[in-house]
Symmetry: C2
Subunit: 224 residues, 2 copies
């Protein structure tokens, strides 16, 4: 039986529903967990630190799909990705599509775009730019190809002095694949992307936050 | 009996406990409310918009003690205060105290400081600077004297095409005074500052989020 020393949990689509509101049963369950809970998101660091404090879990967060990590609420953003690469790729895309930027000034490692163009065509265009395009289901992200939630989790594990294999990880989408792969135990919620389910050690019966509660129960993290 | 058309609710100390985590009973209750719920906070706009989406209420938020308002998640910050005034006051304070800034680059209308100095002395020093110092209990804020949550609420009411007196407002601290005064019905939670209780039409029996639930019940907003 896998006994995690810490757990990483995606936010959008995992702790939240399609409307992006928190599943309160999942929040209640996460507050009972006695090991560090690291929130992990494609969203900006300010979103992640706010979510961590309102949910009431550890201040350690992965943001921007792994491009930024933080270790404390009032601490610094640690930037792990090269935003300039992403901006060069963005300039190229602008030659082909009408682009709508989201949170541009807040993002430190990537650029985020509204889903207004064909992602496969865009991926073709950006070959050789050293970036990847992630579809979070909520937006497209142009991300440094050296960045992933998995690499960010390794960075955090090292800083915490634990093996990344001591982490369990829970997610729902494509951008969670590397995180589930590097963790010692990977869990996909029922609504997860098929590609994520393929790399998961466990798929929960329920969707979103209800699935998170099942995952925490399975891992024995809700016992007193 | 007062029947509000919209309601404004402070976050820290009202919807959250001392640890700053959400009271989940209050979140559940707010989701049942069928009129617009405007979150109102001394925190930055990114905190407020994140809180609104995770709690699952309206995107309309008051931030920075009234210095910034927003009407939609992906919309613009509307800045109602003069940050330059606050920076001039900050420079003066630096002559007297060791100052630790919080979220400096994220704040658009004010400056926020850790509570490391005597606020009454600071208020004396800053007479004539056109600013006020607000103690949120979590931090000190140097705010343009023309800014308040009350003025921001009036701005929002006008934009929504309702009278500010059609708002009910719930809060816990000094920076909520003007908001409770301009609203048609003001409610202080049990843990509120005495000065806020003085201007409140109702003081809830319970503290924090439990008090918010009582307030919503009192206003008849939790009936089906």
């Amino acid at each position: 039986m896998f006994k995690p020393k810490a757990i990483a949990v995606d936010i959008d689509g995992t702790l939240t529903d399609r409307r992006r509101a928190l599943n309160l049963k999942a929040v209640e369950a996460l507050r009972k967990v006695k090991i560090p809970v690291v929130l992990s998101t494609g969203n900006i660091s300010c979103f992640a630190r706010t979510a961590a404090i309102l949910i009431g879990v550890s201040d350690i967060v992965i943001c921007e799909n792994g491009g930024v990590v933080r270790f404390s609420y009032d601490g610094e953003d640690i930037v792990l990705g090269d935003k300039n690469k992403c901006i060069k790729a963005l300039e190229k895309l602008k030659e082909y599509f009408e682009i709508e930027l989201l949170d541009f000034e807040y993002r430190k490692s990537e650029v985020c775009l509204r889903r207004t163009f064909d992602i496969d065509t865009a991926r073709e265009i950006l070959k050789g730019f050293g970036v990847k395009i992630i579809d979070s289901g909520f937006a497209y992200h142009i991300v440094d190809e050296n960045v992933s939630k998995g690499k960010a989790l390794k960075f955090i594990a090292k800083r915490l002095g634990i093996d990344v294999k001591d982490f369990a990880a829970i997610g729902d989408s494509e951008n969670d694949i590397e995180m589930l792969e590097v963790a010692g135990f990977g869990i996909a919620v029922a609504n997860a992307d098929d590609r994520l389910k393929e790399v998961a050690d466990l798929i929960t019966p329920s969707e979103n936050g209800d699935g998170v509660v099942e995952a925490l129960e399975f891992l024995g993290l809700l016992r007193d």
